[in-house]
Subunit: 324 residues, 2 copies
C-alpha cells in the first residue's frame, strides 16, 4: 500500500471511501500484484541510497495515448479528420473525390470495430489532409473539434473519455519527480492542444507522428507552416525513433496497449534501459464498461509474457474506467 | 538589483566580493541597463498577478550553444570531427581521400579565424562522417573526445570554455522556473553528452542538427542506429523548425550570438511569442579576453536594432569570461 511505503508526497485526488487507505494515490486501481508492482517500482527508483535509484533527470515515463490514456474506439484522430474534411469540402470539392479521402468519408462513426483500420494508412491520410496550411490555422481547427464534437457512443466530449486510473498514475508519477510524456501514433500537434489541460503534460513532452514544418512568410508574417510531407510515423519501430529524437534516452517506465502491436517496440526499448524499468500493457477486456478487443496474432501479449511486462486487465485491475 | 526585487529563490554561486550585493544572482554581469532589463523581465513574467505573468509550463528559454554559451573559436563540432576522423582513417583509408574530408583534414586548428567556415557544409561533413554507426558507439567517441582533447589556444578541456556569466544566467532562470533549452546548429547527440554536466540542461532539452535514426538489430540486439541521412540542420530558419518540433511553441527568452546570422530566425521567432519576451544577442568584441569577430553584412546587429533586441557586449557587460 502506498501509505505503508511512505511514498505519498502529495495526494493526486481526494481520498475515496472505497480505497483501502485514505492516502492511496491510486484509488481506482484494485489492490493486488500489479498495484504493488507499481508502488514497489516507484519506491525502488525514487529512494536515495537504493541500488536502483534513478535521478529525477532520467525518470522518464512514456505513455501511448489512444487506447492507453483515452478511449480509441473510434480513433479520435479519425474523427477529427472527418470533421475537418466536412468543413473543407465546400471550399475544395476536389477533396471528396480523392480515393484516400473517399475511403475515410465512408467510415461509419457508429461502427466501433475500428480495430481493423490500418493505423498507418489512416494516419497518412490524416496528416496529408492537414498539410499545406499554417500551424496556427490547424490548431484552431483542433480547438474547434474538441470544443464541439462528442463521442458517437458515450455522447461526451472526447477529452472526457480519459481513463481515471491512468490520470491517477500520471499524477502519482509526477508527484515522484517523473517526467510524464505522451508517445503516440497520433499527430503531435493535435495532442499538444489538449495534453496540458487533460493530462497535465506540457506540449514539450508530447511525441507523435508529424508533418515536416517550415518557417516562412504567410500573410505577411513569418510563421510555422505545415508541409504536406510526412516527417515521422511515430508507431511501432517509429516510437523508439521518436523517443530518441525528443529525449535521447530510453524511458524507465512505458505504458501501451493491445490492439495493433504498435507499442511493442516502445516497451522493448524501455526494457533495454540500463536502469531498473517497468513496462505496462493495457488489455481491453471489458465489453461491459468499455470495449473488448485483441490482436489477431496476439503479438503484444506474447511479447509481454516473454519479456515479463505487466499486463493491465481493464476488467480486473480497474475499479473505475472514466472520471465521475 | 536582484536583491532589491526579492527574486533570488536560490543563489547560483557563492557571493563574490566584487558584486554589488551579496545576493546578486548575476555577479559576473556588470551593473547597468542590460542587467536591469534581465532582472525586470524575470520579475515581470514570474510575478503572479502581473499583467505579463507567464505560467511555468510556458517559461521556455532557448540558448544557442557555439559562441553563445561556450567558445566557438574553433568550433567544437569541427574539432570533434577531426579527432574522430584521425581515429578512423587507419581502418578506413578511403575516408581521407574523399573531397569533403580532405578539406576538413587540412584545417589548421591553431588558426582561429574559423568565422569564415561555412557552418552548413562543415555540419554536413560532420554528420556524414558519423553516420552508419550505432548511436551507442557515437556516444563513446564523444565521451572520449571531451575526456582527452584540449582547446588549441587555452589548453583546457572544451567543456571548461563555457562563459561564466551565462552559467549564472542559466542558474538564475532555472531558479525562477524556466525550462532552459539548448538550440544549436551542432549535432544534438554531441551536445547531449555534456549538456547536463556542463549546463544543468537535461538531454531532453537539447535541440540540434541531426541524422535520421532507426531502431534495428545491431550485434544481435535492437538499438538506435545513425542513418547517413540528414534529418534537420538546426541553423537559421531551421531553428524555429527545430523548436516547433521539440517544444511546439516559441520561447519567451532566446539568446544567440553574432557570427553567421544563424540566430536571427530564433530570436525573431521568440519575438513573435504572444507573451512578453526577451531577446539577447552576444557580440564578440573582446579581443583581449576572448576573440573579436563580427559579420561581413552586419545582419544580426541590424535586425537587433530594428526589433529592439538586447545586445550583450562581451567587453563591456561581462566582468568575467570563463569560470575561475
Amino acid at each position: 500500500m502506498a501509505g505503508g511505503l511512505g511514498l505519498s508526497l502529495s495526494l493526486p485526488k481526494p481520498a475515496r471511501s472505497d480505497s483501502q487507505l485514505s492516502t492511496d494515490p491510486l484509488p481506482s486501481w484494485r489492490s493486488g500484484e500489479l498495484k504493488e508492482a507499481i508502488f514497489n517500482f516507484v519506491q525502488r527508483v525514487c529512494t536515495l541510497g537504493s541500488p536502483h535509484y534513478i535521478p529525477p533527470v532520467d525518470r522518464i515515463a512514456t505513455f501511448d495515448n489512444d487506447g492507453t490514456l483515452w478511449c480509441e474506439q473510434p480513433l479520435v484522430q479519425a474523427m477529427f479528420t472527418l470533421a475537418y474534411l466536412r468543413t473543407q469540402i465546400d471550399d475544395h470539392p476536389d477533396f471528396a473525390s480523392k480515393p484516400m479521402v473517399a475511403d475515410l468519408l465512408e467510415l461509419d462513426p457508429t461502427d466501433l470495430s475500428y480495430r481493423q483500420t490500418a493505423t498507418d494508412s489512416l494516419l497518412r491520410v490524416a496528416l496529408w489532409v492537414t498539410g499545406n496550411m499554417a500551424q496556427a490555422e490547424f490548431r484552431e481547427a483542433v480547438n474547434r473539434f474538441f470544443a464541439t464534437e462528442v463521442h458517437p457512443h458515450y455522447r461526451l466530449a472526447y477529452s472526457r473519455l480519459v481513463y481515471q486510473p491512468q490520470l491517477e498514475l500520471l499524477n502519482y508519477l509526477q508527484a515522484h519527480g517523473f517526467e510524464t510524456w505522451l508517445c503516440s501514433a497520433g499527430d503531435v500537434d493535435l495532442m499538444r492542444q489538449i495534453s496540458w489541460t487533460v493530462y497535465g503534460i506540457p506540449a514539450q513532452q508530447v511525441i507523435g507522428s508529424s508533418l515536416e514544418k517550415e518557417y516562412r512568410q504567410v500573410d505577411s508574417r513569418l510563421q510555422i507552416w505545415r508541409r504536406p510531407v510526412i516527417d515521422l510515423i511515430n508507431d511501432r519501430d517509429g516510437k523508439p525513433v521518436g523517443i530518441e529524437r525528443a529525449i535521447g534516452k530510453p524511458p524507465v517506465l512505458a505504458c501501451g496497449n493491445v490492439r495493433s502491436g504498435g507499442d511493442i517496440a516502445m516497451l522493448t526499448y524501455c526494457h533495454s534501459s540500463p536502469y531498473n524499468s517497468l513496462q505496462l500493457l493495457l488489455n481491453h477486456d471489458d465489453a461491459d464498461r468499455e470495449f473488448a478487443y485483441g490482436e489477431a496474432d496476439n503479438a503484444s501479449l506474447m511479447v509481454a509474457q516473454q519479456q515479463g511486462w505487466h499486463v493491465i486487465s481493464m476488467q480486473k485491475d480497474w475499479l473505475e474506467i472514466f472520471p465521475k
